[in-house]
Amino acid sequence: MTWPGTAAGPQGVAAAGPQDAAAAGPQEAVAAGAGQLQEASGGSALAAAHPGGAAGTKGRRPTAGPWTRFLLRRTGRLLASLACLVVASFALIHFVPGDPVRAALGVTAPVELVESRRRLLGLDRPILEQFWSYLSGLLHGDLGTSLTSSLPVSKVIGDRFVSTAVLAGLAFAVVMVVALPLGMLLGILTRDGRRRRLELAFVALANTLTGIPSFLLAVGAVTLFSVGLSLLPVAGRSGPSSWVLPVFTLAAGPAATLALIVRVETLRVLSQDYMRTARAKRLPTRLLYLRHALPNMLTAALTLGGLLLGGLVAGTVLVENVFAWPGLGTTIVGSINSKDYPLVQGVVLVLGGAVLVINLVVDLLVAVFDPRSTVLET
């Protein structure tokens, strides 16, 4: 199980347990996502019976009502989560034992310097006033001032954010481009118990990949490709070749997870009654899979893909530190070690906010792509 799986793990098994669905992932890494998938597919079967526009012969689409409510609910949840995040990141500096400025500057720093820094951070003012100025600063894009470099945090984070975002984005693209076709192909090849050996080999390999945390994979990849074969740079960000290892070590685990799920989803879809209808129409193979099977797997793939993207963003922290990648991950670890609390606050806020926004966007996409719009009901 990969790092972000720490949070997802326990629910996964519980969800897979009582439901005995065909979609239950083979191993625990799969179960992390399978829980959600099953809820999604189980829910859709129920929703098929929901009245919607079916009752009347007027034939109208479901009214804007559910959509409005859905948007309100999801936006509300995002705002609540963001509020929690802001409060938490504000509180961070106040929960540090002792005096954060003294801790940052060390015992030898002169008292005047500590005092001036305290004033700079506003730590001498009442707590509510501090929170208010923190909030109004945030609204103006002001994340405070770095203790070590005396630069605005927003400036320190700015470039690094792009670097991390591109890394996570590329890795996500690799995940989708590799896992979706691969999982579907393997589902088709191993349907109704064919090619047992291929199935076994794939499941074993994919599960191994999901079981290795990305930073360990990165260490192994560096050993092999950079040190052993001297094909790729060990660390740093320079030419295109320096992107290869970070992107692929970041993508490998999630891609394996997604491919496992997509294969099981493919098997599930292929066994559905509507696929028998499609076969009864004697459609060519291409249409059978691309037109009739694929759209029914997209919801599940997108849902899990979104979860994986959130995990990828967080996962950059470790991988960046293996490759000394100039991004938010190396920044946050460096700032924790140098006790540069405003910078820590800033990175936590930006990375956490990014993950929350991604989750919302994925929810919306899934709702748009799912013709039954079952997510609207949840």
Partner: protein
């Protein structure tokens, strides 16, 4: 749990490997530090940064300490820290997750909302932030990881507890006046213990990896202490001169993590929480493959026979033959009903006729002609074209037989595009016309909708419309009304009749409902145990059944005159197992008229007045007995 199931789990390769791995970890954690601490901690300036050798299998580090010894000694600390943080997570999670049970509805909902928000944050960020608060070091990291795991365990507990709280015995306890706290301790917690323990075990594996991550980042164990993550961090600095120093602890982390996860999985399997991951149920095989081709093979029937199947047998691996020697002839425009109990082989007969049998089934027949073509002799392209245009299927469950992801109009239009070479626009227009033909109001609008916006009866009409796009010669309807309301059933049946009247298509109607067949069909075929036991005009067969089984079937249908005080007539016993059919007549064990001959000789289908029946002692009371002779 029973000891035997544990032993059985131990004998599987995974179970054995898991047990071995856990045992090894335990041994290393217990005896590793006392045995190897010297080699792991003593500086040896004469052996600095050595590569792997006989004395030092994984080489030495910058201070001449044996790398392998350090990895072994680090086992205890690495696992210990992971277990402690998991314990914090589980205890915190159970306390938080059980709150809704204790607090009551409103406060409980607030707690769940909080947990939902907390779960949404990426664990790594939470752990890093908490590590800042608790201070960099092993203690801070344990607390941070433990607290990070709290929300997910809280959600698990809340979900499990909510499930248990619905149970009857909890309601009973509540009615009896038990307090919420008592319900939690006495009823809820004991019943969610197992899944919690299993998830905690798997969670410990994750915590192990996570802790290695934190130490690797320099935020966990601090020197001179060392766990696997710390060793990995030190090893990465020397990756050029000694890659094994980095790989060694990495491998240890992965193996230990896998051992914990597998252990949780194995426990879960033994206690039966998770089922076999293999997808159950056969996925029907795609009968046809190849490229799309335009141009239909035009049907050229030699006579008015649409379908001519002789001696059809469907067999499954393992010797089961659910369809054994069925012959079926359907004439142009004829409506034929096939009736029988579930398991009589009627649906498989329909699927075999349509070439849609599941992949593991094998089919054989003396003759299998559709519109005069031997379907077995056609090549893929021809068969697809012939069956795609001239044969239409309507399945039992309209709720699941339409593709939920595609617009209804698209699904209807598809056949015209693929098999008739129609343009997309033409096909779409045609689809709307067909929808109108099956009496779907506002067809143009409806064509733009998805199946979930249709009722069951409408979906079944869409299925029929789909079959009408090309000019079908045969419509095979497998229990088309079983899943529908009675009023909707009549509409669909009326539509099937119109399909025959207006398109001249023959209809093969499979049903367990004698009434449906009596209403719609001209001829009826009664199936029992994979064979035809009686066949003839509906009026004759159902009014004066010759075969005792047909008679029992007809009598078991209640009508308006059936006295309601008496129990419904049922046929006692069960049909024979298709893999172990007895000698003689398959109905003999259940037959009130059975005699010695019935259990010895299997009766063939014999001509009788107005019908053909496979019975040695048919009901011929009201009929003039006819010399019964086998029909060729």
């Amino acid at each position: 749990m029973q000891r035997s199931s544990w032993l059985r789990a131990l004998r599987t390769p995974t179970g054995a490997a898991t047990a071995l791995g856990m045992l090894l970890l335990l041994v290393l954690a217990v005896v590793g530090p006392p045995l190897m601490r010297d080699a792991a901690t003593t500086f040896n300036t004469s052996a600095i940064r050595q590569g792997p050798s006989g004395a030092h299998w994984l080489g030495t580090d910058a201070l001449g300490r044996d790398v392998l010894a350090r990895i072994v000694v680090a086992t205890r600390l690495s696992i210990g820290l992971a277990l402690v943080s998991t314990l914090i997570g589980v205890v915190g999670g159970v306390l938080l997750g059980a709150l809704p049970v204790v607090l009551g509805r409103r406060a409980g909902r607030a707690v769940r909302a909080f947990v939902d928000v907390a779960v949404a944050f990426p664990g790594l960020l939470v752990a890093l932030s908490l590590a800042v608060v608790f201070g960099v070091g092993a203690r801070g990291a344990v607390l941070a990881l433990g607290l990070t795991a709290v929300p997910s365990f809280a959600r698990l507990t809340a979900n499990l507890a909510a499930g248990v709280a619905e149970a009857d015995y909890v309601s009973a306890a509540r009615l009896a006046g038990a307090s919420r706290g008592r319900i939690l301790v006495r009823h809820v917690l004991p019943n969610i213990g197992e899944p919690l323990v299993i998830n905690a075990t798997i969670g410990a594996g994750s915590a192990l990896l996570a802790f290695a991550g934190l130490s690797f980042l320099g935020l966990g164990v601090q020197p001179p202490g060392y766990d696997w993550g710390r060793l990995l961090n030190e090893g990465l600095n020397r990756i050029y001169d000694a890659p094994v120093a980095a790989l060694g602890p990495g491998v240890a982390v992965v193996l230990a993590g896998v051992a914990f996860s597998l252990f949780g999985e194995t426990v879960a399997q033994v206690v039966g929480l998770r089922t076999d991951s293999r997808v159950k149920g056969a996925v029907p095989r795609l009968a046809l493959a190849g490229e799309a081709q335009d141009g239909a093979v035009r049907a050229a029937p030699r006579d008015d026979l649409v379908l001519d199947v002789e001696d059809l047998t469907v067999a499954f691996p393992g010797g089961s033959t659910p369809v054994a020697g069925v012959s079926l002839r359907i004439h142009r425009g004829e409506m034929v009903g096939v009736v029988g109990e579930s398991g009589s082989g009627k649906s498989l007969t329909a699927l075999a006729v349509a070439g849609l049998l599941p992949p593991q089934a094998t089919m054989s027949a003396r003759r299998a002609e559709f519109l005069g073509h031997d379907v077995r002799a056609l090549d893929d392209r021809e068969r697809r074209s012939l069956l795609g245009t001239s044969l239409a299927m309507v399945f039992q469950d309209p709720m699941s037989s339409l593709n939920p992801a595609l617009r209804v109009g698209r699904q209807v239009a598809e056949v015209a595009e693929v098999h008739l070479g129609a343009s997309r626009a033409t096909a779409a227009g045609d689809a709307v016309a067909k929808l109108a033909e099956v009496r779907i109001a506002a067809p143009a609008l409806r064509a733009q909708q998805h199946p979930h916006q249709f009722s069951g009866g409408m979906r079944q009409r869409v299925m029929i419309a789909m079959g009408l796009v090309a000019q079908p010669r045969l419509l095979v309807a497998d229990e088309p009304t079983t899943a529908l309301d009675v009023t909707v059933q009549r509409q669909v049946l009326a539509l099937l009749r119109r399909v025959r009247d207006e398109h001249g298509a023959a209809v093969l109607l499979i049903s367990h409902d004698v009434g449906v067949i009596a209403e719609l069909c001209e001829r009826v075929v009664v199936m029992y145990a994979g064979r035809v036991v009686e066949e003839g005009p509906v009026a004759d067969v159902l009014a004066r059944p010759a075969h005792p089984y047909t008679r029992a079937l007809v009598e078991s249908v209640p009508d308006m005159t059936t006295p309601r005080t008496r129990p419904l007539v049922t046929i006692t016993g069960r049909p024979p197992d298709p893999s172990a059919r007895p000698d003689g007549c398959p109905f003999a064990p259940r037959c009130p008229r059975a005699q010695a001959r019935c259990t010895q000789e299997d009766p063939p289908l014999m001509a009788m007045p107005g019908t053909r029946a496979a019975c040695w002692f048919p009901h011929l009371d009201e009929r003039a007995a006819l010399a019964a002779g086998p029909v060729a």
